[in-house]
Subunit: 214 residues, 2 copies
């Protein structure tokens, strides 16, 4: 398997964690999102991934994009260390938590959105940072609320094993810290993230230990 | 089943289509996102859905949020009229198309984001419309590219039956038209949407025929 990745991409980080939790080896192909106007905008990359986003996974000659679709695919094709639970209601809960992050927080704070705010709308750095913190604060408060009052929350987002929701939560919290977001009202989120960060699969997926880290 | 919905919410529209394709009856509970400062901000609604977003589904005493998690749940619990195909690669493809819309287009153009642009950043109506069209144009061009060059595209996004990707595509195109986005470079997208709109399940889910339509 070949993963097109950027060390700081939160979506690529999710997939790196999932691959690690399943113990799957892969070749990392770095795609630099900033240097030279962005390697993700080159024709050969757009041919693989017309959205020009990371990650992209190549597996057995097939090209897959969209981090959550990739993780569900890995879970269906490599049943070890299941990332989604068994029952339909529990699966819905885990997907709900994942989508709260992958739909409601991350896309609004993506690099290209911040660039549009600056370049097209003339937002200052302070305004862009406030924007970032606004959506993270709103989104993670929702995740905290869902986690804190559901008995299915365990040491991890769902029960006693890390899964799809944890794959999304850890990169989002990494980003939140990078932008100095206040996480003091989110003890459940912070506890779960601390527990994840002790695990080898999460440690090896972290941005700063990637081969392309700066 | 009870669906908390707003006629113009693209995420609620997706779930209404899915319920219709499966022939499932439900009670629609309208949640007005604009009137009186937004009914989705009332404590009783936030108690159900702490994100304050629509849709929310109540089924057998359980509360589910996040449109794609709800649709996957409906597909797992009501196997008639499958919305996801059988094989893992095909499922990944359908989820990829769905997430291209549900993650990369819709959240960036959500009502609350447009409100922030106006109220906090002082963006004019023209700037907000340009923002909207920018992300729709970029996102739907990617969807078009994926659809146009894959033999698995049929009369619908995947093969000869409507599914999860179509549930996402039709509401997104409805919104795009509402904001006068140029779809002339997206013939595959427009063909599929036209075909969907002939079907009862899509017609009955459309915003303008909802009980709360204005």
């Amino acid at each position: 398997m070949k993963l097109y990745t950027y060390f700081r991409s939160s979506a690529a980080y999710r997939v790196r964690i999932a691959l690690g939790l399943k113990g799957l080896d892969y070749e990392a192909v770095p795609v630099h999102l900033v240097r030279d106007g962005g390697e993700h905008r080159r024709p050969e990359y757009l041919d693989l991934n017309p959205a020009g986003l990371v990650p992209t996974l190549e597996d057995a000659g097939q090209v897959l994009t969209q981090s959550l679709a990739i993780i569900e695919y890995l879970d269906e094709t490599h049943p070890q260390a299941r990332l989604l639970p068994e029952g339909a209601l529990d699966r819905a809960r885990v997907r709900e938590l994942a989508h709260m992050i992958a739909c409601d927080i991350h896309p609004v704070n993506n690099l290209r959105v911040l660039q549009y705010l600056g370049h097209v709308l003339g937002a200052t750095e302070a305004q862009r940072n406030a924007w970032y913190r606004h959506w993270v604060g709103l989104g993670l408060a929702t995740v905290e609320s869902r986690l804190a009052r559901d008995a299915r929350t365990g040491p991890f987002c769902h029960g006693d094993r890390p899964g799809l929701a944890d794959c999304c939560l850890v990169p989002q919290v990494f980003n939140a810290r990078r932008f100095d977001c206040d996480l003091s009202a989110m003890p459940t989120v912070c506890d779960i993230v601390a527990r994840c960060e002790e695990l080898e699969a999460f440690r090896r997926a972290a941005p700063m230990v990637q081969p392309d880290a700066e």
